[in-house]
Symmetry: D2
Subunit: 403 residues, 4 copies
């Protein structure tokens, strides 16, 4: 296949083995300048330390690191949380939510440096390629997209390491790597190894951030969160930015083994895969929001929020963030979240985050209404009329059938 002519490409660079190979490969195969883009989405110092030097050592002309941590939580995670999205009932979308913000920042850098192409290091079997390229299509339809994993013929870590060695590019990556991992401020995921057989239980080394529930403290710990319009704004006595709240809760949650998920999920590309995900802080935030909703959303609003959650989980997972449909769903859930303000206490114990107390000034719960005495707002005699009309079509249908 003849390659298109590229002058300058911005590559989403992680510092890992794959993207270290990609830089020289791009230069050789496209004869173009390669600019490395590193998104700091909270993946941790270990990955970020020295990443610029590494990129340049691999042949990048420049390396830009963008701190997207606060923006990711505020503009991608919090809106998603308001929808209640939880993919296939379990997965809190940690990797999915990071992709659109990285892609967007990458496009912005490409515009800034005058690049005519974008490159990512996602494999051809996963979701991330679709998420990146879906964002690129919506934000930069004019830029060329290069997906080396679908182009080159390297198929193993060994070949990648050889590729670098042949070019004298330093690399500290090990020859074998049992698990495939992805981390950001919200979660860390682990795939591969023992997990490839669904009849295997996860090993201890499938978990990165959280202690095993069995190793968690024998005494529960309690955290208190304040939620305003569907967003966590204050934890344990302190106002916190979205990212700081997440970091704080991650630490608390991890200590108590909170937020472990072991799931077989449907990838967008038609196959199933299995992963172990850890979302300690996110699990606590999710519980908090849902608990406040219990107080403030009426029955039909709650049901619609659940429907929005199912839809949003698909859209976010499928990398459709920058679509009119996703924006419409977010507008709807944001509207519902206007009442979602309150305070909750959450007990952390041996892998579980359990809301034990909750209150809200918007609460529709009222002790007087709910208890079984008389009150002014609710007249028990109204129930008869309600029931008669509520079941009227059943009654008419049954009467017809009796005739």
């Amino acid at each position: 296949m003849s390659k298109v002519k590229i002058n300058k490409v911005v590559v989403a660079y992680s510092g890992g083995l794959d993207t270290s190979v990609i830089i020289p490969w791009l230069k050789e195969n496209y004869d173009c300048e390669v600019v490395a883009f590193v998104a700091d989405v909270g993946q941790g110092e270990e990955e970020l330390n020295g990443v610029e030097e590494k990129a340049k050592a691999s042949g990048a002309s420049e390396c830009y690191v963008a701190d997207l941590k606060e923006q990711m939580v505020a503009e991608y995670i919090y809106p998603t949380l308001k929808t209640g999205a939880c993919y296939e009932g379990k997965y809190l979308l940690g990797t999915s939510m990071a992709r659109p913000i990285i892609a967007k920042a990458q496009v912005e850098l490409a515009r800034q440096v005058g690049a005519d192409a974008l490159c990512h290091g996602c494999t051809g079997k996963g979701n991330d390629q679709v998420r990146f390229e879906g964002a690129f299509a919506a934000l930069a339809p004019d830029l060329h997209v290069i997906a080396p994993w679908r182009e080159w013929d390297l198929v193993s870590r060994e070949e990648c390491l050889d590729y670098l060695a042949e070019r004298n590019i330093p690399c500290t990556a090990s020859l074998t790597k049992i698990y495939s991992r992805d981390a950001n401020a919200w979660h860390v995921s682990t795939e591969g190894g023992v997990l490839e057989n669904t009849w295997n239980a996860p090993n201890d080394d499938c978990w990165v951030w959280t202690v095993a529930p069995e190793s968690a403290p024998d005494t529960p710990e309690y955290v208190t969160l304040k939620v305003e319009k569907g967003e966590v704004v204050w934890v344990d006595g302190e106002d916190m930015t979205p990212y700081n709240a997440l970091v704080y809760l991650n630490q608390k949650g991890a200590e108590h083994g909170i937020g472990r998920i072991d799931i077989v999920e449907n990838r967008l590309v038609g196959m199933k895969s299995r992963g172990c995900y850890e979302t300690p802080g996110g699990t606590i935030m999710m519980e908090a929001l849902r608990a406040v909703e219990q107080l403030v959303l009426d029955k039909t609003s709650f049901e619609f929020r659940e429907e929005l959650g199912v839809k949003a989980s698909q859209l976010v997972y499928d990398g459709r963030w920058f679509t009119p449909l996703c924006q419409s769903i977010l507008a709807a859930s944001n509207e519902l979240a206007q009442d979602v303000s309150g305070e909750v206490v959450i007990k952390l114990y041996k892998g579980q985050a359990t809301v034990t107390q909750k209150r809200s000034s918007n609460s529709l719960y009222s002790e007087e209404f709910a208890t079984f005495g008389a009150d002014e707002v609710y007249d028990q005699s109204h129930a008869e009329g309600f029931i008669r009309l509520y079941s009227l079509s059943s009654r008419i249908r049954a009467l017809k059938n009796q005739n």
Copy 2:
């Protein structure tokens, strides 16, 4: 209000204080024969022991006890489980699912004994009145319905006890009762008392069946379940009937503090209430079914099953079992459940039921497809075409916007 003329009424009788008052009240106020109907839905021996004598001592001409336990699990709970219904994201519908089967059996008895009226002891503020009367409307629109709590002027336990004492009807009920409870094979619910303030954490005595996670064994226990077409058919080495499987899992779950829920929910009648629910065996069953679904349902089927679950949770909660809509939903979820067969291992530990192993002969998961090597079914080069078409409308829209 002048009462309609009733000859014989069948009352849903529990042996508790309320229904003990209802029998003489019906006789005095409607001058009719009162037949007591007791549904054994697994509420326990304590409630059932001597219930016939009690009914007659209260003035019932006859008392029929119907064992509905197997039928309830097989015909009401299992179909609901296939939908994934979980009301407002938390509540496994324990009380809701029992109502239609009790109402149906009560109607059948009324036909058998030639009664012209049906009576229940539900209050005017709750959901159960709607569930009973919704079923009555669909099954016996010609029978009169009497709801004493909406008619009489007794408003306290004390008045009820006095009512019985004045008539020399023996009653062992205590003057004070902190909590309002409902139990069947599937769950036990607790409302009232300390729970009436949502800012109070539940007390220890809010929980009936399950130990506190803190008091559960320090060592996990594992159970293995076989699921066929969406139904649990075998547990830990033995074929089991639906009810027996539930009893077995209830015991295991309760020992490990599984299935506690503390929720503020929207009642159908427009107000919110708070309850603590315990569903130990049901929680384990739910995890098992959802885990097998992870293996066998494709992406769009899974999403639809989630939507069906949201809808079914509303219909079952709202007492709309005997409606064309509910039957349509159940037909849809039953169709999806045809592939839901497999085996799961579930770890029980300190309040959590966690699936650790799962397999199915219908599994769409395949190690070869999911891993990142080459295979025959999936050609990575297909991904490019997929992505291009999948994001084509985004691309076109973005190109238009650039012009």
Copy 3:
């Protein structure tokens, strides 16, 4: 029943027989001042002429007429149109959309004049009582609501006329009235008479505004509409306000027999009713919006808009305008409507409004992409990859089943 104590009540007054009786009845039964409120929602001069004198002659202390025509189209009808709402597939919600705006203005007047009660003249079998009182509950939960038709014992026109005659209140209403009608700028509805048997075809006199298709001109007429962000802003060469556009299109449509509907519908109160509705201009507007959507909404957005339409049709019909759920739906559809701008030509002929030409600067349709030659954006070879992944789970499932 002892009446609550009322000082001043604002009654939604139409000038018809019912509300003319209501004024003296309120004064006699509640011993209170009665303020008449007349909402001009485009029902026509005939109803409005002399309405203030009539109200005062009936005993109202004051009569306020509010011109709500522009506001109704701009703030209630246009937002609803964006959702595509069409109740039970047919009914364009003419009466439903007028109720919340009338109720809201009535509440505002009550605040202004210091009233402590609100009154409407809707019967106890219809939807409108729920719509009015639903709005009152949301906007003025502290004000008392009086619904005379559910209180008094007048059951016929004759009794109403006698009631007025006994009190020497002038009234020009006729003794018999075959049909029950409701009109506003958007539509006129006709119920009763021959329509009460669904096996009767409508008579000629069931239709008020529109000519029969058979009597419409033998030559088609064409109108051109400009739509901006989902709203009609220009018709046949002229910028028009929402209300003026509607009036203009009503006239054109009526001349060509456009917008007749004969439907049996489910009322909110559990029974079915039959009505003939005429919505000439609205039908044309609906066609225009849906046609522009064909050009600009992508596949998944279009499907969601259809789902929003189904939901909105229920909410608007059910009088739930002032609820968080309805506002959430409207936020979602408004977001989708941001692209819905364009121009359409509509042919009016013998009862049908047919879009014959359409264009939009946001159109995702592109001659080059759609035709079967080669192009740059769409590479036919991509289709293979798309299809392979799109049907991958089917293929895996089928392969499993073959083994």
Copy 4:
């Protein structure tokens, strides 16, 4: 690209230019035996006459013609009709519904003759390739699929004609063909030519089966249909098979210009296209079913049927017939259709099919309930209770907001 080794391929053959080229092309490029398969889905005698000879003259070793007409209407169209599916609000899915049945019969023939490959003549830009290959994936994942339009480099009719001429294969196809058409018993579609610009109105020659409304009779005609469990079983005095009913109604409808649609739609492959579709008999059937539903479906069932229709329209359009999801949807709509029995009279006039009379023994409509007098089933005083509870959460929320 090296071709896979094929021994015998079954090609979906129409007798048109494309598939006439495909036969020799397959033999030359795959060096295999080619068996022609012709599905008679009611496309008309013109296409079928001499089709076997033509196939053999093109080089097919055998040609099988299968009469699928009754089966298509009974097993594909009627089930779809019960869902109410209408793609993007307009298109009655004529081409979409024919594809799965053709693909299924083609697979059956392949099994019978021991073929190892399947071939279709769909282009690489359309939906039909996905529909065929989606069905193949579900029914014959082991058979190889050949899509010549995505493989060869012929790009015009001229090149196709030359290809045949060079090989002395007789062909009567004309050099130019303005429109692309597809016909079966249900509909005929027309694309291309003047329609490629959405601002052009359709020409007279865009319509094949139906007269223009302007040319239709000046006098209305009436047809009467009997519907049983959602299926048309009797028309104008005669029991009819599904196919015969369709043929009869097609003729009546076509005479009156019924069932013309001019739509810009979203193709599954991400682009938009425009088509003129004629579905005269289908439009009449659709009206009939929906009218009976008005009588028999309660409010919530009707709403769910509308949701099912939206979903089914997508699934059928997208070629996902043989998926668990589609079968689940069909199970749900079939359940709802159990009550959909009745009789309707439909007026045909100048392009419109209008139901004027309808009745059903399952009708939930009742004159007594709907009119405004007193009755036994509906007590107007019940409305107050209904409204109070129905709007209770609004009231509570408003009271909270006032404080």
